[in-house]
C-alpha cells in the first residue's frame, strides 16, 4: 500500500527545477505604494532583495520619498504614476516596471484601494462604481497582465490586499465590503487556475491598521479588537513578504488575516 501511494505521489510530483530565485528573474510591482500599507510592502520587498516598482496615483512626492528610502538602503526601485481605475493602467504599470527595472513582473501586490462610505440607501452609482473599479477590477486587469510573464517563467507571486470588512459586516461600507469579498473569491479562483505553473495567488485581510484610510473611522471598531490596538503597516507587509517568499510556494488560494483577532 505504501509503495503504491509513493508511486502515485512520484508520478504526479513536478520535476524539481533548478532555476535562479525569483528575485533575480523578476521585479515586484506594488500598487498604491506611495503611503500606508503599500509603502511598507514596497520597503519590505526591497529589503528581501526585490527590485520594486511603486505604483501611485497622486502622491508623487510621497512615492519619491518611499523610493529614496529604498535606494538609501541599497535597493533598486522605480516609481510609476497611473490611475489603476484606468483600463490601460495594467499594461502601463507592468510594461513600465519591466522597462525601468529591466525584469518582468514576477511579484504583484494589488494594494491600491479606496473607500467611499455611505449607508446603502445613500450610495451613489458613481461612488459604487469607483470603489469596484479600483479595488476589484483593477486587481483583475493587473493580474491578467502580470500572469503573462509569470506563466511563461513558471514562477510568480500575486498577493491581493483584501480586508476583514469583506468577511465581517461594517455598516457604511457595503461597496468596500463587496469589492474586498469579490477580491478574495477572485484570488481563490485564479490560484486554482495557475497553481501548476508555480504561480501562487493569495489574499491578505488587514483589520484596523494605522493609516490614512482608517484615520476617520469610529472607535467602536477598535473596541472590538482583542489585541486592543490597531495594527501597523509593517505588520501587514510582513504577511505579504512571507507569501511572496520562496518558503510560501505551497501556500495558494488562501486568505491570511492580520487583524489582532477582530474576526476570530
Amino acid at each position: 500500500m505504501g509503495e503504491r501511494v509513493n508511486a502515485a505521489v512520484a508520478a504526479t510530483a513536478p520535476a524539481a527545477e533548478i532555476a535562479p530565485p525569483a528575485v533575480e528573474r523578476g521585479c515586484a510591482l506594488v500598487t498604491g505604494a506611495s503611503r500606508g500599507i503599500g509603502a511598507a510592502i514596497a520597503r519590505g520587498l526591497a529589503a528581501d532583495g526585490w527590485r520594486v516598482a511603486i505604483g501611485y496615483r497622486d502622491g508623487a512626492d510621497e512615492a519619491a520619498a518611499v523610493a529614496d528610502r529604498i535606494r538609501a538602503a541599497g535597493g533598486a526601485v522605480a516609481t510609476l504614476a497611473a490611475d489603476v481605475a484606468d483600463p490601460d493602467a495594467a499594461d502601463l504599470l507592468c510594461a513600465g516596471a519591466e522597462r525601468e527595472l529591466g525584469l518582468p513582473v514576477l511579484a504583484l501586490v494589488n494594494n491600491a484601494g479606496i473607500r467611499v462610505d455611505a449607508l446603502s440607501p445613500q450610495i451613489a452609482d458613481a461612488d459604487w462604481q469607483a470603489v469596484l473599479d479600483v479595488n476589484l477590477s483593477a486587481a483583475f486587469r493587473l493580474t491578467r497582465r502580470a500572469l503573462r510573464p509569470m506563466l511563461r517563467a513558471r514562477c510568480g507571486r500575486i498577493v491581493n490586499i483584501a480586508s476583514v470588512v469583506g468577511q465581517r459586516a461594517n455598516p457604511g461600507q457595503a461597496s468596500y465590503a463587496a469589492s474586498k469579498a469579490g477580491l478574495v473569491a477572485f484570488t481563490k479562483t485564479v490560484a486554482a487556475e495557475v497553481a501548476r505553473r508555480s504561480v501562487t495567488v493569495n489574499a491578505v485581510a488587514p483589520g484596523l491598521i494605522e493609516t490614512d484610510m482608517t484615520a476617520g473611522l469610529s472607535g467602536e471598531l477598535l473596541a472590538a479588537v482583542p489585541a486592543r490596538r490597531p495594527g501597523t503597516p509593517d505588520e501587514v507587509a510582513a504577511c505579504v513578504r512571507f507569501l511572496v517568499s520562496p518558503q510560501a510556494g505551497y501556500v495558494t488560494g488562501s486568505l491570511l488575516t492580520v487583524d489582532g483577532g477582530l474576526s476570530a
Binding site: R148, L151, R152, E193, V194, R196, R197
Partner: protein, 81 residues
C-alpha cells in the same frame, strides 16, 4: 519576430507542446490536444506564445474552436499573414 511560415509555426507549436508535457512522438497535425494531455491553461499559454512570437491575437472563442495541433498551426499562420 520569426517569419510565420507553416513550417516555422509548426516547429514552434511542437516545441511549446513538448514544453507543456506532450509526448513529442504523438504530436501530429491531426493529434487532438485532449489526447496529448494539453489542457486549457496550456492553450492559453500557446496563445500567448502566438502573440509574443508572431503578433497574432488568439481569442477565447478561437481557443474553444481549435481541437487539433494542425488547427492551431493553421490559425496562427492565417492570422500572421
Amino acid at each position: 519576430m520569426p517569419i510565420a511560415t507553416k513550417q516555422d509555426v509548426d516547429q514552434r507549436v511542437r516545441e511549446a507542446l513538448v514544453e507543456f508535457g506532450a509526448d513529442a512522438d504523438a504530436i501530429a497535425p491531426e493529434a487532438r490536444f485532449e489526447a496529448l494531455d494539453i489542457d486549457s491553461l496550456d492553450l492559453v499559454e500557446l496563445a500567448q506564445i502566438a502573440e509574443d512570437d508572431y503578433g497574432v491575437a488568439i481569442t477565447t472563442e478561437d481557443l474553444k474552436r481549435i481541437e487539433t495541433v494542425g488547427q492551431a498551426v493553421d490559425l496562427i499562420v492565417e492570422r500572421a499573414a
